[in-house]
Assembly symmetry: C2
Homo-oligomer: 196 residues x 2
């Protein structure tokens, strides 16, 4: 039996849409913190939790961000009440003794294997980006995820020591006027699902 | 305001755990299809939807699967009522004219740029894997995601034409005896979240 009410299923999955405009209702720091407080509990490999979240409010920080967005994403990113830059921590393994106390030596395994460390960081931060988008919705807010930005420029701007690599930018707010484009079709069951 | 009840927040995020054992309650094909029917609606770049799902029931298919799992994952994967192999479709762009009808020419952009196509496939399929795990929970089932398997062996076994690349294996069922290990700590707010 689903633990979600029909309204919750609609808000989280079946009726949720990527918002392209936002109204003036502010998004508070407490709301943004609550998004992270939900998303943080979903699972990652070896409890690695490589996702890092930079919340960018309106003002000077937003101007620094918008210039790295693709042209078509600038207006909406400039006007969203809040924006999250999601990034992967390439040195997440430094936290392993704290987050995986029964196997602290995994820190050294990651330290000695760049390909494993980098693959674990990207894959698990991206899984967590999926959780994060659904957590935005779970807080009653609309999410507008965007991959269209200059990642190298964004990293140089906000993460100049090279440790974090930005993977996704998510506008967060309450939907405004004409927020929704017509819904795009999803693939048919048999194009996606098979059985063995 | 959150569209989720306190029970739903608990079931989806704050109280959900990775199950390591499963009881004998079957998981029906209808339940598995409903997981996909929820997860399919969450967003992907250019509506690309590269995730593919192979549901493996008990029996001969499961035997073929278990032998590619890491040693420590074999017992639980063998005994789960259902298992999903999640994969990225490296030729997802063939569906672009159907899923992105206002920009069908993006198919050719992806066809001519292997790095862009492969990056889009992995990143978005992984985001969708995050949605999928939460959709399992939204159907009232426990998910047990595992990265510990021989991906090349799995692909040769189930996707021999080379088109799909497996990214994650997820056990699905109702929690059994001693299903939960002690909960591992999550990173502190200030280790993850920053503000600009």
């Amino acid at each position: 039996m689903s633990p979600l009410s029909p309204d919750a299923r609609h808000a989280m999955f079946t009726g949720a849409r990527t918002a392209n405009t936002f109204d003036d209702t502010p998004v508070t720091d407490a709301e943004l913190t609550r998004i992270w407080e939900l998303a943080r509990w979903a699972p990652t490999a070896a409890n690695s939790q490589p996702l890092r979240v930079l919340f960018v409010r309106a003002g000077e920080g937003r101007e620094r961000l918008v210039k790295h967005m693709d042209e078509g994403n600038r207006a909406k990113t400039g006007s969203a009440p809040a924006v999250a830059v999601l990034a992967a921590d390439t040195r997440f393994h430094e936290h392993i003794p704290a987050v995986l106390p029964y196997k602290p030596q995994l820190k050294d395994t990651f330290a000695g294997n760049d390909a494993l460390r980098s693959g674990t960081a990207s894959f698990n931060a991206t899984l967590q980006a999926g959780y994060f988008i659904l957590a935005v919705r779970a807080e009653g807010l609309a999410a507008g995820p965007m991959g269209g930005f200059d990642a190298a420029g964004m990293d140089a701007e906000f993460f100049p020591d090279g440790r974090f690599h930005s993977i996704l930018v998510v506008n967060i707010g309450h939907p405004g006027k004409d927020a929704w484009r017509p819904r795009l079709p999803r693939l048919a069951h048999d194009d996606v699902v098979s059985w063995a």
